[in-house]
Symmetry: D3
Subunit: 293 residues, 6 copies
């Protein structure tokens, strides 16, 4: 495993062997078509994580009670998309092999393809829970099948029909929405129908991918393709925690923070808020000290 | 008509003759008293429009099915307010003469005076629907009667009492609010009473002017005079689409985006969101393919 | 009193002798642990206050009808925390001695310790109303008992158990929340239970301290330690005005605006909005012209 | 005279009556064609002047020994160019009438027209020393004769042929350079031939106008129209001090700082450096304590 | 040829058929390893070119007298490096086939590989003149042979030993400098030995590639990998003009402007300065009106 | 020694025991009076160091051949100046005790007081070589004797008369320059007389402190108190390398980078350039492989 010469995320200084969750960064944005810069997300989040508390009053849980390994960032090959995806896949596959849960920080959304491939190899009945502003269901984009705008279509190539549950979607081509009606389960605009629509997934292995641009740009301007009309931070936190607590997550990611586009640091703070709350919800049953609320 | 050496708005590459709507920019901010920069709005919106989809899942309509001509930007005379307003007036008057609908991108709010003058010449019974944070009803400002802070007062000079319907207003002098009680129809703070208050205007010719600072600065920081307490992007979109669908709009504008004050690009994305949704609502009945939702 | 060579806040040009409220800035941020810069708040607010109207349509009150003295900024000693707090204390004590109400603009939150000490000397039964994202109840931080992260604990040293009413709190160590259960009155996350929980304080002398990071970072990114999940500008305005109208405020402050971290100016506009509305609510009963709404 | 409710420039707190030099700001940029914002220059310079020392080791002179009145900023009428120029003219004329020297801080370059008009009324044999990147000699620009791009042509209307000495010029239309050969004295690119070319002006009344974009954009990026290839800060300081010490300056200005375009503050620091050194060179013979170097 | 729906560079509105020089943008930065964003260069340069004059007092030449076609930007495939290079090659090859001179605006430096390949196909004895801060001679970088850090090595694969003349180089691995001693002609640190070292190339077909980071970061901060110690804008202009006037340039490019990293716009202004002067030097002998200096 | 959970500077991953030089950060800026933020310098430099090459073509030396330990950052106590200086002193003293050379990255200039105190305890005949824009010789500042503006005066308290050699100084009070004539050796404005003036120090123990604002703000805008008129990066590099090669340096520091004030990253790149070149010059005689130039 990685983790040499890296300053870890807040409270994630545990050894690989003793950890159930493995954090790592996938700093890749070579296919980003509008505004690049998500490569800086994992570094910005690590640095600013020290402005956060380890304790969550929302869940009455404390990161100090969890055991998380931070593997640092993969050294991806900018400009060589296939090679980069292979590196992500191999790293995630090793984590799955060791019975651990990979928690990846993007990078652009395409990085999810590497981890999902590895997850599907281990869990053939894998389903996807997907929060996003965009459908990401194009067959190809700018002449390539491997793009941030096609990633969910590529994931569908792997998992098949009606295995991808999409929420918060508010942008795409007309054809993508039409295609989704047949092949995925798409709930547009917000996350409010989450619990009812995902009830049937309890117990099944789930990969959970959050494109942070599901948030409104007023909440999260630091992203490559801001799309007006998104959800609030409260709505995202509550939905993410619901998923973490109620479904059997086998892997997850947070993608599309582009920190340089929000010099105030607020977008990075939003990403870290979701990171902490999701991580705590995943680890709740494995902690030293249970919640008291 | 203009349109030489200009990169048009997304999907607005149609010819003048075949188009019902004519877009153009009025990059003028010479009377702006606090922070100038709205002159950059139309260029920023054109460039960033390519980060947008042409399709709206909110209305199930697609810009690809509309025919819109983009006339480019007027070459206004910075520092000579009267001359600039005359140029705007003449350009809009020609559009009205050709039976088309001008859709202007400001610039500061004063530019609306030019288009409204032209509209009123064609439609003597013109009414105004006005979304804004500010009353803009001063008799004069900094010693001049022609200012972004007086523009609705000047428009009142043209259309007269009780013909201006103001919504979202939350800033002005005490005297302006008092004056409005007699001369305009002013609904402060939000857009929620829109439908009931505008029902009587159905069928009448309406000029629709949206000062984007009606949005809260958390949503739209990129403006010259941010005023806390405004509406959300959802509230503005729904209100704008209601107006576009239910009233007989003969001309409209979006003003007061100052893109350099929001380096994240989120404010420009917000402006483009309203631009697309309003444009689609105006064109809905003239499109090749009707909505399916 | 101070006030030499200073451009005052909008409409605050009255003489000290004739004023009931005394504004002053405490530009100090030496203990800020994450991102400094609150020292620039009072200057930014004075300058940008001229982009504001004096009239509030929310309260139908006008700053032109109030008499407020702006004392300018204290010349605090960066790096010498005790000396700086002593200067703040002495300045506030003189204001109290003259029967006036100090309204301080921070600076970091620690500056409140100076004014509260002075207030408690005059009002032994002083209670504190505290809006904040953070508990600020650590016994010490980075090895010092005097820090922005300990300020409410130091204030508790002065006023004692159950005299501090905390609202909007959403960040702190687990131990701080536990400590608060015994020693303060803490309402987490929002301001919605304000009226019911503060009803018992009517008539008692209150010091009101607003850490503006109680606002969500989407509303107020210009602060040193942005913490996701806060309240909206409307919720804060309504709560602040409720406090100003219903309780007997003897002193107050607004702290933790760090204007350089929000180049759009929106955060400064938010701070000024609360400043104007709180100031009007405090002065309502002392104004020349009463509200008409 | 003005000067109410203004925080003065560093060390410029003297009374009008006892001062020989009168500082004032002319915050006007309505004709700026590319990037507005010079209106913020005088405020930014006043605020940041407190980061400067009053003492110059270059000249061994100290602002503490000079008597300078800071009149604050004129309240100019954005969008009404003629009215604004008239206000500047009248203010400067009053200063000339009192036998004092106006030192104006722009604003865009057009503001010089107001002060030069007033100067020429008092000194019919007035000559102009002009440092700039641009010729500013167009007959009209964007349809108006009153523009930042025409200001020296308008000044030529007043002072006539061969009375304008231009240095550092590196940008203009071919026709402007050709026109200059007949009507002004133009030394392109740098300031190195200054002493030899201005020797004949000793004793004559001189108005000295410095467009700070004569500096290279690497030195001074905070300006509306950055033009590569300019002089260094040392070359400008030495030239400005030479002019201040060797010629009979009756009025002067520094124009075209646009501080928001350089968030680092370096451009404002550069402007202040020239301001202090020029002011000291003008006041050298009128100071309490002479230089010792 | 391209050029649909594009706002051209200043004064480059001529038809393809009548032009000798063909401008085009190659907005590609997928292999950039440190800070991406050069994709925005051509758009920023086109927009800001309107702040420039067409006339150069340095050369007494005017762009109005040249005939230049602006082909707009290629639609490159982000993330697919080979495909993007092939598109660049094909576009340049068509220009060469028509006997014209391609003038490319990057993009990262790797884009030069496409144009050089096309140039070498037409001119087998092609030599390269290369201005840069970096050697760019690695055999591979981050696991790929196609990278901004390997581009000159790939070009060497095409043109062979001692055909690449490198100037201004001040950064690279020790091994790269050693390799250069055998295979290229490398003059480190500055451009001062240019004329003597390139005299032997007169008459030979030359591709001229300028990585703008040859400029010092004080002059040109808006680039992906700022490297201290570079040349001044004057040194670069004079060297570029020397090359344009004295050598037989068959193709050229300007690469590595990353405009978002310099919000002041100064870096873009620097790039445009070199663009205009180089373009004029290339076109001098083909112009309507000769220089008069 | 420190160094837990830190990402080290480029190529500084050696063990403490085997290293001769010990890097560490002193992120402290509590006494900064104008613009704080130097606390972010060491983190920014570590992160951006990976954009640098390890090899210097200026000296033909490679960091790969040196052995340097990076101790990470001290956890200083913001707001408690004495305690912070004591921590710095103790850390440096331990390094001296182990016969190693401390290389500190500030923070504000006051941090040098801690290391110099430790150095003087070991080397009673210590001399100081000091590059700076400012004299830093005030007896006290804002009421405190411990300030960035007094640090050299406090160092004089330790080392006594004529033991401090100051270069590049261009800002201070008249009284400071007068005081310096008696008590230090001050060469104003530039570094050009360095070699002749320091020749007598060969062989004596020297502490070398570089306030990076000795650079001109055009080169180094990212600093708290930009002062026009400084040296170029070449002049500073050559002077620093001369000192490193010719004098017996026992400790050194680089202070006053404030990276957030230069979002382009150029200032950080400049600081890293000096860091690498100085470090190589110090280590030249201790390296595995000697220079070949």
């Amino acid at each position: 495993m990685l983790n040499k010469n890296v300053q870890t995320f807040l409270a994630c200084e545990h050894e690989y062997a003793e950890s159930r969750v493995v954090l790592f960064g996938a700093p890749f944005d070579s296919t980003t078509s509008f505004r690049p810069g998500t490569r800086f997300a994992s570094r910005a989040m690590r640095e600013d994580s020290y402005g956060l508390e380890t304790y969550s009053p929302y869940q009455d849980l404390d990161l100090e009670d969890a055991k998380v390994f931070d593997g640092g960032d993969l050294d991806l090959c900018f400009g060589d998309t296939k090679k980069s995806l292979a590196m992500i896949h191999d790293f995630a596959a090793a984590i799955f092999q060791d019975g651990k849960l990979p928690f990846m920080i993007g990078g652009e959304h395409l990085v999810s393809l590497g981890t999902v491939q590895a997850a599907a190899e281990k869990y053939p009945d894998l389903c996807i829970v997907h929060f996003d502003a965009h459908t990401d269901l194009r067959e190809e984009y700018l002449g390539t099948p491997l793009s941030h705008a096609t990633v969910l279509r590529r994931i569908w190539d792997i998992v098949g029909d009606r295995r991808i549950y999409q929420f918060g979607i508010r942008s795409g081509e007309r054809a993508e929405f039409a295609w989704a009606k047949k092949h995925t389960v798409l709930h547009p605009f917000d996350l409010q129908t989450l619990a009812e629509n995902l009830a049937g997934l309890r117990g099944k292995p789930i990969y959970f991918t959050i494109d942070l641009d599901v948030l409104d740009p007023s909440v999260f301007p630091g992203t490559g393709t801001p799309e007006a009309g998104g959800v609030s931070i409260r709505e995202l936190r509550e939905a993410a925690v619901w998923v973490g607590r109620n479904l059997k997550i086998v892997g997850c990611d947070l993608v599309e923070l582009s920190p340089h586009y929000d010099a105030s640091g607020a977008s990075t703070a939003m990403a870290l808020h979701i990171w902490r709350e999701l991580l705590l919800s995943l680890e709740r049953d494995f902690m030293v000290r249970p919640a008291q609320l």
